[in-house]
Amino acid sequence: MKRKRWEVRLAGQGGQGLGLAGIILAEAAVRDGKNAVMTHSYGAQQRGGPSRADVVISNERIDYPQVLDADVLVIFCEAAFDRYHHRLASDGFLVVDSSQARRSLVEGARSIPLPFADIAQQVTGSIISANMVALGFVAELTKLVSRRALVGALRKHSPKDSLQANQTALERGIQIAKSIKSGENWGH
């Protein structure tokens, strides 16, 4: 991590667990000895309204706490793509849950569509852990946080009754990123 400031935005709808994913990512960064800030913006609805979690990670003091130009933009619904695709940094990663959003192209961006909800359904029996598949994927893709810190942070913040499913989903996300990075062709 050479850069001063890394910005990750997780955008979708209320109920998709993006706030929790943001907290776990920020917690993992703190466990790795870095500074981290997580802000979560959402509507009055428990489910269905727009939801956005911003995580800023740095080795230095973090002032402005929200995303300015996302190094990683994770999209969990079509509306989130419309709202935020222009906030992606020119060399940023666009990570789209292709089972929940169709479009995944931003000019110049490194675009990675993956069916996180479908994968979560396969490995845990429910799409509710799609957030953890995406989190594991992003963490391994960017190496922003260590795996050890990530798993520890998950254990701390995951609701107990879904910890097992979340761990399985997180591991699957890590595994997929590893296989993509090693050049294997991961079909979906």
């Binding site: 907290i23 920020a26 997580m38 913006s41 009055a44 973090i62 002032d63 402005y64 706490p65 300015l68």
Partner: protein, 385 residues
């Protein structure tokens, strides 16, 4: 009895914490014994946490029927000798105004936490603002002194909450912790507990009950307030009162009381008001900001410094009493002052009042429920005054 400083000795540990939880933890560290509130976004996590933590310590949590009753209960608990607090947001803060005046006039220590959200009215409940700055100062009717603190980080939210309780005891006054939604709901790295935490207890008079008067200036600027039930019998009223606490119409007694009431805070601005200056030595432009907006301001200041521009930052930690002298110094040393805030220009007016034209004063303002961005402040730096 008297002041009893206590010190936390556990080693510092870095962890991720939400601003609202840091406020609640700070209140516990200060010795919170009573908390009453009514649910409201975005302050809810404070009450949720304290509803679990306080009973475990044998302390009291009450969810009241509304915010008017919440602050009334807090004032009563404080008169009973407990460190007491409430937490709310804009709409609830509006309801509390009458009792803030009562606490200021009757001189009851208490802490009121207002997590500002976009308003007026219901506004945007989950979105930030700094629109309650003037309400915190003047929201209740009648002239009165008040102390208002404004945290800029999660770590500082913890520290300033303890400080708020200390000031409320030290000056026998309500203290308002004026947070904002960004700060209160964001999660950030903190190092807690602090190595040294000074916690002030309630002052106790050295006179026997029969000689005690709750507003006796012979006992000092801040006469000790003895909790009810300890044998010291006295009267409390929101009416103008004499040293015994009973109503008075005598102008000489009212004058004595008012001199002391205002003097204890407005005469001690230098001791009470905290500010933080950065890169101000050679600054030609000063950015003044507070709360989460000070983070946008510092971001912009750093960017400007990378471009070798002489820009400095003055962060207000204490909003009220207003630190006139610090602003005067800045106004005399820079060409332009930019006041950034999430409202339509509330502290801007104070800065203009104090600057008296010595520097150009420009506002960067928004009240739509979004943070002031570094880019907005950078744009204000570009404009030639």
């Amino acid at each position: 009895m008297g002041n009893s400083p206590t010190t936390a000795r556990r080693p510092k540990k870095a962890r991720l914490m939400q601003g609202n939880l840091a406020i609640a933890e700070g209140a516990l560290a200060a010795g919170l014994g009573f908390f009453a509130s009514y649910p409201i976004t975005p302050a809810n996590e404070i009450a949720i946490f304290l509803s679990r933590a306080l009973p475990k310590r044998g302390a009291i949590f009450i969810q009241m029927e509304d915010e008017i009753a919440s602050l009334a209960a807090v004032i009563g608990a404080s008169v009973g000798g407990l460190k007491a607090a409430t937490a709310t947001s804009g709409p609830g803060f509006s309801l509390m105004q009458e009792h803030i005046g009562y606490a200021a006039a009757v001189e009851i220590p208490c802490v009121i936490i207002d997590v500002q959200r976009a308003g007026p009215s219901t506004g945007r409940p989950g979105s930030p603002a700094q629109g309650d700055v003037m309400q915190a100062r003047w929201g209740t009717h009648g002239d009165h002194p008040i102390i208002v603190l404004c945290p800029g980080s999660v770590q500082e939210a913890y520290e300033l909450t303890i400080h708020a309780f200390n000031l409320s005891e030290q000056y026998r006054t309500p203290v308002i912790l004026l947070a904002d939604e960004v700060l209160a709901r964001m999660w950030e790295r903190v190092e807690l507990p602090l190595a040294q935490v000074e916690v002030l207890g309630r002052l106790h008079p050295e006179v026997p009950p029969e000689w005690y008067f709750p507003y006796d200036d012979a006992l000092g600027d801040v006469p000790p307030l003895v909790p009810f039930g300890q044998g010291y019998r006295y009267h409390l009223t929101g009416l103008f009162h004499d040293k015994s606490g009973f109503p008075t119409e005598r102008l000489d007694e009212i004058d004595t009381w008012q001199q002391r009431l205002f003097g204890k805070i407005e005469g001690k601005v230098e001791q009470i008001a905290r500010i933080e200056e950065e890169e101000m030595e050679d600054a030609e432009i000063a950015i003044i900001a507070y709360g989460s907006t000070a983070r946008s301001a510092r971001h912009a200041m750093k960017l400007a410094r990378e471009e070798n521009r002489a820009v400095g930052l003055l962060r207000l930690v204490t909003l009220w009493p207003f630190h006139d002298k610090a602003i005067e110094r800045v106004a005399s040393s820079v060409k332009r002052i930019i006041v950034a805030e999430m409202n339509r220009g509330q502290i801007l007016l104070e800065v203009e009042r104090v600057a008296k034209g010595r520097a150009d004063v420009v506002g960067v303002n928004r009240a739509d429920g979004a943070m002031v961005t570094p880019a907005q402040i950078m744009a204000a730096l570009e404009v030639e005054g």
